[in-house]
Symmetry: C2
Subunit: 380 residues, 2 copies
C-alpha cells in the first residue's frame, strides 16, 4: 500500500494500533459483547464532545451527520440561519434546500471568521430562525469560528445551535455543554484519527424536543430510530453498523483519553503555529487572517505563477507528501496542509523539508531549510 | 476478540485476507491511487450484479441503499407497489412513507413467496404504480422471491423494478440485466463476506431517467451527486467514503471472482439443502415452505416449550455458535441459521453438532448426531 505521508484535512494517518483493532473478528452487532463496545465507544464520544448527553454513531460520512443534525430538528418551510464562510458552511444551506428548509445565509468572506455581533444582528432581524448552523473549523479556508462566543448570542434567542465540529473535535477546543451547542456533529477521520466512514452526533434536550415535533422526512438518518435503538438492552443502532470501524473508533478514542483532551489540543495548536511560521519562513503567504486561522489545517496562497499540479504534484510524486488543494473558487488559488490527529514535529519536519525542496525545484530563490528551522523553533 | 462462530444472516465471518486488506494504510480518497482501487471495486460490483451499468458504493448500511434506490426515482405523492412478506419488504413501505411516497402493499403471508400472477393482478389493477419494490431474499422469514419471473411481469408495465438483493447477492442467482432490474441494492456484510458498513447500488438507464425527473429530496443519498462524482477523473464519491471498507470489499470481491459466481451460488445452495436436511433430521420444522426457502438463511420453528433464550442462549454461551432470532411478530417463534459467505460443511458440522447437543441439553429425546449426518449426506 501507499507510503505517502497524508497531510490532509482528513482523512488522516491512523495509528497501527487502531488499524489492528479494526481487523478484529466481526461480531454480531446485536449481541451483548458488541453492546459493551458500542456503549463504551459512545460514552467516550460524549467525553470528547464534553457533554452529559448521549452520543450516537452513524454509519456514514461527516455529511450524513450534518444532514441528520439539521433535518431532524427543522421542518420543511421553516427557516435556518446558515453561517457561510466556506464550502462546509455552504453544505448546510444545500442540505436545507434539499429538504425544503429555507436557509437564510449570513455570508462572510472566505478566509475571515464571522463575528458574534454579525450573528446577533442577523438573529434580531428575524424572529423566525429555528436553528443557526455553523462550521467550527472550516477546512476549505483554514478558519476557526468563535463558536463559544456565538453560543452566548444564540442562547438569547429561541433558535437551536447546530455546530459542525467534523474537523475540530479532538484537535481544537469543543465543549458542547459549556458552549450551549444543541446539535454537534463530528467525523471519524479528522482529529479523532480513526479511519473514515463513521460520524457521531449528540443532541441537547431542546434539540430532542424539536426532533419530537418534526415528522420524520428521512429514514436512514431518522434520529428517533437511533434514540430508540440506542436505549435498548443491549444498546444498538437501527441498521447494521460498521462493526470494524467502531472497533477502530473505540481504539482511537482510547488513545485520545490516554493523551488527554487538553494536551491534544495544545499539540494541535503547536503544530498549527509551527506550520504558519514555516509557511512564512519559506516566503509564502497564509490565506486566512492569521488571528482566526485553524488549529488543524493551514491554508496557504498558491505562489504567483505556480500551478496546483506543480506544487502538490511535486510534493506527492517526488517527495511522497500529500497536501490538499483548494475547493470551489479557491481551486488552484490555495493549497492546504492538514495537521490533524497524530501530528508531531516529525511530520512537519518532513512536510516543510519537502515543501522547501519543491519550491527550489520550481525555481524559487529561497533558503530551503527555513521552513524546518521555523518548525524546530516552534517546538523547542 | 470473540471467537464465536457467526451463523447469522449478516454480518458474516470475514476471511483473514479481507481483514488484512482492510488494515492497509489510509490513502487520500481523492487521489489517483484510490481512484484505481475505487474503479476496480465498482467494476467488480457490476460483474457480481451482472450488469453493464455502473455500480455505486455508499458509505452506509444496506438500508441506506434501499432508501437511495427508492427516493431518487419516485416523487413524494407518487405511488409504489411494495411486495411485503417480511420485515425487509416492510422497510420499503416505511421508507416510502417517510418521504411522502404512497406505498400500496401486496402482502403475502410471512413464510410464503409472492407469485408472479399476484404481481400481475396488482399492476393491472392500478396504472399509477411508479415502481415495484421487492426483497429477493427475505432474511426475516428465510424465503426467496421469484425475482426473475416477476421481472417479466414488471417489464410489461410502466413501472420501475427495485430489487433488494442485500442478502442474496453473491449467494443466490442475481442477474440484474437479464431479470430486468432497474434498481438493485446490496450490502457488504452478507454473501459478499466483507465487513458491514458499505452498500452498493446500480441503476438502469430507465431508472436514471426517473432520477433526472425527481427533485432531490435527500442530500446524503442523492444519486445525482454520486453519478457526478463517479464520472470524475479520478472517479470519486461525493463525500469521504470508508476507505478501509472499500479495501475490504475489493478483496472480498476478488475472492468471489476467484471462486466464480456460479460455483459460489451452488456452494450456498448445497449449504442450504444440508441445513434444511439437518434441521429435519433433528426433528425440527422449517418455518417457510420448503419450495421457496432461501439459499442463504434457514428459518426454523422454535420447538414447543423452548424459549429463544434457551435455544440461542445455549448455542451461544455453551457452544459458541451465534444464530439469529426471529424479528417482529416472529420473535421467539423462530430461529434462523445464516449460511452466507464463506460457508462450507465445516461450519455446518459445528453448527448442527452444537444444535444437537443444545436440544439434548434441553431434554429432547433425539439422535444428537443426526444433524451432522444429514449435513455429511448432503455434501458427500
Amino acid at each position: 500500500m501507499d507510503e505517502t505521508l497524508l497531510m490532509l484535512p482528513g482523512p488522516t494517518s491512523v495509528a497501527p494500533r487502531v488499524l489492528k483493532a479494526m481487523s478484529d473478528n466481526i461480531v454480531n452487532h446485536r449481541s451483548a459483547i458488541f453492546g459493551e463496545i458500542f456503549t463504551e465507544t459512545t460514552e467516550l464520544m460524549s467525553e470528547v464532545f464534553k457533554t452529559q448527553n448521549q452520543s450516537y454513531l452513524l454509519t456514514g460520512s461527516g455529511s450524513s451527520a450534518m444532514e441528520a443534525g439539521l433535518v431532524n430538528i427543522v421542518k420543511p418551510k421553516e427557516k435556518i440561519l446558515a453561517i457561510v464562510g466556506g464550502k462546509f458552511g455552504q453544505r448546510f444551506t444545500n442540505i436545507a434546500t434539499s429538504f425544503g428548509i429555507e436557509a437564510k445565509e449570513l455570508n462572510v468572506e472566505w478566509g475571515t471568521a464571522v463575528t458574534p455581533d454579525e450573528v446577533k444582528v442577523a438573529l434580531e432581524e428575524d424572529e423566525d430562525i429555528k436553528a443557526v448552523t455553523i462550521v467550527h473549523n472550516e477546512t476549505s479556508t483554514g478558519v476557526t469560528a468563535p463558536v463559544e462566543e456565538i453560543g452566548k448570542v444564540v442562547a438569547n434567542h429561541d433558535a437551536l445551535y447546530v455546530v459542525d465540529t467534523v474537523s475540530s473535535l479532538g484537535g481544537d477546543r469543543v465543549d458542547v455543554d459549556k458552549f450551549g451547542i444543541d446539535v454537534c456533529v463530528a467525523g471519524s477521520q479528522k482529529c479523532l484519527a480513526a479511519p473514515p466512514g463513521m460520524a457521531a452526533i449528540t443532541l441537547s434536550d431542546d434539540a430532542w424536543k424539536a426532533v419530537d415535533n418534526v415528522d420524520s422526512n428521512t429514514y436512514y438518518l431518522d434520529m428517533k430510530k437511533y434514540r430508540k435503538a440506542g436505549a435498548g438492552t443491549p444498546p444498538e443502532t437501527p441498521y447494521t453498523p460498521s462493526v470494524s470501524l467502531i472497533y477502530a473508533l473505540f481504539e482511537a478514542l482510547k488513545i485520545i483519553k490516554e493523551e488527554g483532551l487538553e494536551a491534544r489540543v495544545v499539540r494541535h495548536e503547536t503544530a498549527a503555529e509551527a506550520s504558519r511560521n514555516a509557511v512564512k519562513a519559506l516566503g509564502l503567504e497564509l490565506f486566512p487572517e492569521e488571528s482566526v486561522s485553524s488549529a488543524t489545517v493551514t491554508a496557504v496562497k498558491m505562489p504567483e505563477g505556480v500551478t496546483d499540479a506543480d506544487l502538490r504534484g511535486t510534493m506527492r510524486n517526488k517527495y511522497k507528501v500529500e497536501l490538499a488543494g483548494g475547493q470551489d473558487h479557491l481551486k488552484g488559488n490555495i493549497f492546504r496542509i492538514g495537521h490533524m490527529g497524530n501530528i508531531t514535529y516529525k511530520e512537519l519536519a518532513i512536510t516543510f523539508s519537502a515543501l522547501g525542496m519543491t519550491l527550489k525545484n520550481l525555481g524559487f530563490d529561497i533558503d530551503m531549510g527555513a521552513g524546518v528551522s521555523a518548525v524546530n523553533e516552534s517546538y523547542l
